[in-house]
């Protein structure tokens, strides 16, 4: 089976066993491909004792810590094949991950993202409000995961406006006019969780702006780190937004630049779901064995998409909990899970102070 065939299947329609069989062979094939084509990956696999001829299950396949993409340029195709290099959204001074995409990988990312998102907002393009400033995509210096995310989701918009100006102030008149022009249509809102809270929600409240977004769908991602420090839970976020502008359909998503496209969308029950293109495994830190349902562990993500770089099986630095498989009350099949947060920095003893600067 190849990606084209997978794309015909609805993204949340395969049960555990069936999905397992498909992913096992898909990912074993990908591992061999990267082994054959990425010299650094070959050395890693030789070191860890990878058996090229064995048919691996996804739980047995080696996984790379995402940090390695900050340390090495990892690619499994010729340099000339690279059409796009994605970088993680590191703040200045931090080293960033570099993800190398060839035409095929990049195109597949778009197709898979379309497949997943359209199952939430419909197949038609719809009027879209981006809750951010256009400067993020215009200014190449700022271009990062945030810009890439906006561009990636922009394809779902028939018409698009940016809700914030360069000073991060709400373009109130523009938004009101846009809503007036698309009165009875479904509106798609997109943005990063913290931006929405900080610059959209807070201004709606402060400036007492009245928007009717009861017919809109909001998709947001980027993580909760900053909101956790303001003690805003996912429930508060949805509840307050609904009270402020009537929005009822709010979906968080979990994704990362190292596996663009195969994102994990939050369903109506508040659970993140694995589509058929990717999967999540929760591992125990003590020995990297698979954690039980309900047990906290380190999140591993696997995806069928990464072909031009060896990022098909990654160990993240996030902790999560698997909630169940194939039995979420929203009706979607596949595993569903939740994020606990980033792994805590280590507190270690000893006289050396170089630890923090090592990676």
């Amino acid at each position: 089976m190849d990606i084209a065939e997978l794309l015909i299947i609805p993204p949340y329609s395969l049960g555990g066993n069936e999905k397992q069989i498909i992913l096992n062979s898909f990912l074993t094939r990908l591992t061999r491909h990267h082994y054959d084509n990425c010299p650094a990956y070959t050395r890693m696999m030789d070191g860890i004792g990878f058996d090229y001829n064995k048919d691996y299950s996804i739980a047995e396949l080696p996984f790379l810590p995402v940090r390695l993409f900050k340390m090495f340029d990892l690619l499994s195709v010729e340099k000339e094949e690279i059409v796009k290099t994605m970088t993680s959204s590191g703040t200045s001074g931090q080293t960033v991950s570099k993800i190398y995409l060839d035409r095929e990988t990049s195109a597949n990312q778009t197709k898979v993202l379309t497949k997943i998102v359209s199952s939430f907002i419909g197949k038609q393009r719809v009027p879209m409000i981006i809750i951010d400033t256009e400067a993020v995509v215009k200014n190449r210096n700022l271009f990062s995961a945030r810009g890439a995310g906006i561009l990636g989701f922009s394809m779902f918009g028939s018409k698009r406006i940016y809700a914030l100006n360069e000073e991060m102030e709400l373009n109130t008149e523009l938004i009101l006019e846009f809503l007036e022009n698309h009165k009875n249509e479904r509106i798609f809102l997109f943005g990063f969780t913290f931006m929405i809270w900080q610059h959209f929600y807070k201004q709606l409240i402060e400036k007492k702006i009245n928007l009717d977004l009861s017919n809109a769908v909001l998709i947001h991602g980027g993580g909760w780190k900053k909101l956790v420090s303001e003690s805003i839970s996912s429930y508060d976020f949805k509840d307050k937004l609904q009270k402020a502008c009537g929005i009822k359909h709010v979906h968080d998503y979990y994704g990362m630049v190292e596996q663009t496209g195969s994102i994990y969308m939050e369903c109506e029950c508040g659970h993140l779901h694995t589509p058929i293109f990717s999967d999540v495994l929760i591992r125990r830190a003590s020995d990297f064995s698979i954690a039980d349902i309900g047990e906290k562990g380190i999140i591993q993500v696997v995806s069928v998409l990464p072909f031009s770089y060896p990022g098909h099986s990654l160990l993240t630095e996030d902790e999560g909990i698997l909630l169940g498989e194939d039995d979420c009350s929203c009706g979607r099949l596949g595993k569903y899970f939740k994020i606990v947060g980033r792994l805590k920095n280590a507190e270690i003893r000893g006289c050396s102070d170089t630890y923090a600067e090592k990676f």
């Binding site: 004792g49 805590k344 003893r349 006289c351 102070d353």
Partner: protein
């Protein structure tokens, strides 16, 4: 010839945000009035003995083996033993004056050892303790306060000032500007930061930089060891006790002996260690990711690197097929070891550089060790100690005889 006055003008005294742990009321002007003393003065030995007794009265000491070890170190008998080794010739020595100690942030009791070196060598001491709060520091401080209340020890106590302040503080500049010797613990980046602050022209720094340590085991001898669990405990103390992050903790294990013995010895050695680590140690989740990352990094950059299969993430073993010069860069913390089978100790001479500090060993004769150093003449390695003894403090550290370094010779003809 006329000489101009000291180039470095003492900085403005500004003790805002400086916490004086000892004494509570500090007067800089009277502090610097005290004169230097000869090394191992009776007063210093009596004072440390009193401190040792006082520490042993504190019930909390039972929870802190590191404080107990320190108290044991301060006993009169132990110090006299050091004095005996020291008393050479008829050389006249006095302390250099004021020592400014900057203690490492992650080892609670280290400041106290640094302090006793300053006291025994006859100096006045300003000690910056870690800004992070540790119970051990409170215990030692309390004991010092109690000892200082006895009239007998009051004058000697006034040779000590313990301060605590956050990293960015003008106090470092001030203390640097008046000290005769500045002792900087904590590693390369701390040294760099502290050195921004000038010291007077005749003063100097004693620095304890980042170091790399290793361990050599003679397998032929090891397999007949009757209590391998004791050796494991010693190795645990050398490594896991400080998260394998002390400069003395070995990262590279060198196996010597016949290869069929080595395999057997490795099985016994790691097996015994594992039993201990399983009971006493927990790997933090982010460290598990660190170990995996370190391994892949090592596998990419060095040739022929293999992970040895272990039951879990407590002990990571990496098998090397050759010794690369930059092996010291491939390390992690909390139980990550590279292993190499060497034909003889002399194979190490190609990797040892100035960064190398402690070589711990098992089953190697002292003679062989002396032979190795005198023949190979390595640029690094300052200490060679049996497994289990790497963290034992000694008045000789990192190649410095601290008493000699912190005192000056007065030549009289």
């Amino acid at each position: 010839m006329q000489k101009s006055e000291a180039v470095v003008i003492p900085m403005q005294k500004n003790f805002n945000d400086v916490e004086f742990l000892f004494p509570r009321e500090f007067d800089m002007d009277s502090f610097i009035q005290a004169t230097p003393l000869e090394p191992f003065s009776d007063n210093s030995i009596e004072y440390l003995n009193a401190l040792s007794l006082e520490l042993n009265k504190d019930k909390d000491i039972r929870n802190y083996p590191d404080v107990a070890t320190f108290a044991f170190f301060c006993r009169k008998a132990n110090i006299l033993h050091f004095k005996k080794d020291f008393s050479q010739q008829d050389i006249l020595r006095l302390g250099r004056g004021i020592i400014f100690h900057i203690a490492p942030s992650n080892v609670p009791v280290n400041f106290a050892y640094s302090l006793i070196c300053g006291l025994l060598s006859g100096n006045l001491n300003i000690v910056r303790v870690p800004s992070k709060e540790f119970e051990q520091i409170d215990i030692i401080c309390n004991a010092m306060i109690k000892v200082s209340m006895e009239p007998k020890y009051q004058p000697f106590s006034s040779r000590i000032a313990l301060v605590r302040y956050a990293r960015q503080n003008s106090a470092t500049a001030y203390f640097s500007s008046i000290c005769d010797v500045r002792i900087i613990w904590g590693g390369d980046s701390t040294i760099e930061q502290i050195r921004v602050n000038k010291i007077p022209p005749r003063s100097f720094d004693v620095t304890f930089a980042d170091r790399y340590s290793l361990c050599a085991i003679n397998a032929d001898k090891y397999i007949s060891e009757t209590s391998p669990e004791k050796i494991a405990l010693g190795f645990y103390t050398d490594t896991y006790l400080f998260d394998q992050n002390a400069c003395t903790a070995p990262h590279l294990i060198i196996w010597l002996g016949r290869s069929e013995k080595i395999e057997n010895a490795q099985r016994i050695f790691w097996g015994n260690l594992y039993e201990l680590v399983k009971l006493r140690y927990k790997v933090q989740p982010v460290i598990a990711v660190d170990k995996l990352t370190s391994f892949y990094n090592q596998a990419v950059q060095l040739n022929n690197v293999k992970k040895t299969i272990t039951p879990d993430n407590l002990i990571w073993r990496v098998e090397l097929n050759d010794l690369s010069k930059d092996i010291e860069e491939y390390r992690c913390t909390s139980g990550y070891f590279s292993e190499y089978r060497a034909k003889s100790l002399f194979e190490l001479s190609k990797i040892i550089d100035r960064k190398y500090q402690t070589l711990s060993y098992y089953g190697i004769e002292k003679n062989e060790l002396i032979q190795f150093i005198t023949k190979a003449k390595p640029n690094g390695i300052d200490r060679i100690v049996p497994i289990g003894k790497t963290t034992d403090f000694s008045l000789t550290w990192d190649g410095y005889n601290l008493i000699n370094t912190l005192s000056r010779i007065i030549e009289i003809r």
